[in-house]
Symmetry: C2
């Protein structure tokens, strides 16, 4: 599995949630169709009258989440770019997504502008397996930001973290080791470590 | 239909997208279970180790979006409050959502903290009807913010807006009138009005 697989999953789910931040710093969220996925590129469109459009122009940072029928979640954070050659892209979007003609018949389609995400971080998260499974990737020029927790060399090997982990995602050793792809990031190991040997990877 | 109906729809969909804004002003989005819906209250929970938890504590403003099997979209914006009596709420959440025990068995459930949204604006949007149908509501102490467009008394009655509307959502008159519950907010009427008689309701 890689970033491109995650983009393809978003195209298959098609109706995904797009979060933006408005000029007052407030979050907004709505369902948007993923219209085209190519190598390292996700394309969508929106009408120039919509709040969504104005939020994208004012602040290109977006966050997507979506769930497929197998309860697998995809998350993406990245920045959007308005695409040049509006007519070409909108015509291609309508060709590959013909139901758009029901909403925007005839020439009305050209009130839509095309946007692409060409760089971002993606996360795959499967809550349906035991233990849970997660993987992080990036595409374009973005880097993966480590999340969750790590056990440092301050570990005394007492095993408290392992006994507390709801997913049995910690292996014994010196130090004990969190299997990152099975970690919920819940924080139980971090809260219970008697010597504060566990750190938040966000803060490294 | 009212705000409470929309909250109940979110509970039925259950897996909904929650957007937050982090301390750097960046959006994040993930799928979260709606655990309980009561009168004017939506309850969910998250682990104290998660980025989601820290974002909620740092900035309580959230935006939810979700789609049901009939292609009806629900959107909600509001602020969260961490609930007192953590143990009581988490026990009730697990009683009403028993599959939570698979992810957080035994005592591990108490790494979760309960949160509620008790005030907000909601929007119902049905893209499956023709014309489309939308309604906005609020609950708790929030007010509905008007969106979309309005035709002012500067209208000269030329009918350009009506001819351009992709949803036939504009009625003739002096001035012409947009049927707000059928409006896409696409902006075609606004862009094409020859006398700039149409204004964005956000800016009123």
């Amino acid at each position: 599995m890689n970033a491109q697989d995650c983009l393809q999953m978003l195209r298959e789910i098609k109706d995904v949630s797009f979060a933006t931040v408005d000029e007052k710093g407030m979050p907004h969220n709505r369902i948007i169709d993923v219209m085209i996925v190519e190598e390292d590129r996700l394309v969508f469109c929106t009408g120039r009258g919509k709040d969504f459009y104005h939020q994208l122009i004012g602040n290109p940072h977006v966050a997507i989440s979506a769930l497929n029928k197998n309860w697998q979640m995809i998350r993406l954070t990245g920045a959007v770019r308005k695409l040049d050659d509006q007519k070409k892209w909108i015509d291609r979007i309508f060709e590959e997504n013909p139901s758009m003609n029901d909403v925007y018949p005839g020439e009305s389609r050209y009130i839509l502008d095309p946007f692409a995400i060409e760089s971002g971080a993606v996360e795959f998260f499967d809550l349906g397996t035991s233990p849970i499974h997660r993987e992080s990737f990036s595409f374009g020029e973005s880097k993966v930001q480590a999340k969750g927790f790590r056990i440092t060399d301050a570990c005394i090997g007492c095993g408290t973290c392992q006994r507390n982990c709801p997913q049995q995602a910690i292996d014994a050793g010196m130090p004990y080791v969190i299997r990152q792809d099975s970690c919920l990031h819940c924080g139980l190991c971090y809260e219970n470590c008697p010597v504060q040997a566990i750190i938040n990877r966000n803060e490294e």
